[in-house]
Amino acid sequence: MAKIKIDTKKLNSAIARSFDKTLDRLSESLDYAIDADLYEYPRTTKRKSGEIVSSPRNLVDLGNLRDSKVIARSSDGNAAEFSWDVPYSLAVHEGYTTKTGKDVPPRRWTEKGIEEADPITFFTDALAREL
């Protein structure tokens, strides 16, 4: 019977490199999803930056949301979590209602970023190239 010898050290190293590349790819894609004019909006508004914006629009006013991205890695390095550390990030993502009764639609940049990056396919392709 033939024996298969697996070099687990080499395999784990390839997995780690592929995961790092996937995180880089996803991070770029999530930034793009905030920067790009991908979001329908029901009215024209003036931003704090002074810019007049209509629809579709991006999610960048002063850039605080995009710049607040945090990537937290687990201690073993095998998991990661993206978050955006400004108090209004969930409101932008899920939509909200103003005190005057205007509804602002959800703008789920995470869905668009993940769709664009396709991290599972990217990871498996990266790993195949590493091995």
Partner: protein, 140 residues
């Protein structure tokens, strides 16, 4: 299948006296539950000029998502629920707890959007009511 009337009755029963009120422009008052599109007024409900007080529940009636299966298809309905607290001195904790504890449907995890001075928003809680319906396809 879940019906709009059934959902409205569950929300009215569970939220009871804590549900807010619509005061329409013609002076009529009604519990603040909107199932959209409304059967009589479509998406224009409540009409412009309506004053809403207290807790409002807005429920969007879903179109089906479809997964094809052998011999039939599975339809997935997601009723999008938004609770809105129009009273800035109050919150949605008790109402959310009451609905999560007692609604007789599959629910997604509620997402709380707290008031934020920069956005000028009111407190809202969003979740979905999920229903799966198997639709057999009979060849004739």
């Amino acid at each position: 299948m879940i019906t709009p009337i059934e959902i409205r009755n569950q929300f009215l029963s569970l939220l009871g006296s804590v549900i807010g009120q619509y005061k329409f422009t013609d002076g009529r008052i009604q519990s603040a539950i909107a199932l959209l599109p409304d059967e009589n007024h479509g998406w224009d409900f409540p009409n412009n000029g309506t004053v809403t007080a207290g807790i409002e529940a807005v429920i969007i009636r879903p179109y089906p998502g479809v997964t094809e299966l052998i011999g039939g298809r599975q339809k997935k309905y997601e009723w999008a629920v938004t609770l809105k607290q129009w009273d800035a001195s109050n919150n949605l904790l008790a109402a959310t707890e009451q609905l999560v504890n007692n609604l007789t449907y599959l629910l997604t995890t509620p997402r709380t959007i707290p008031p934020n001075a920069a956005l000028g928003n009111i407190e809202t809680v969003k979740f979905e009511i999920i229903e799966y319906v198997y639709q057999p396809i009979v060849e004739v």
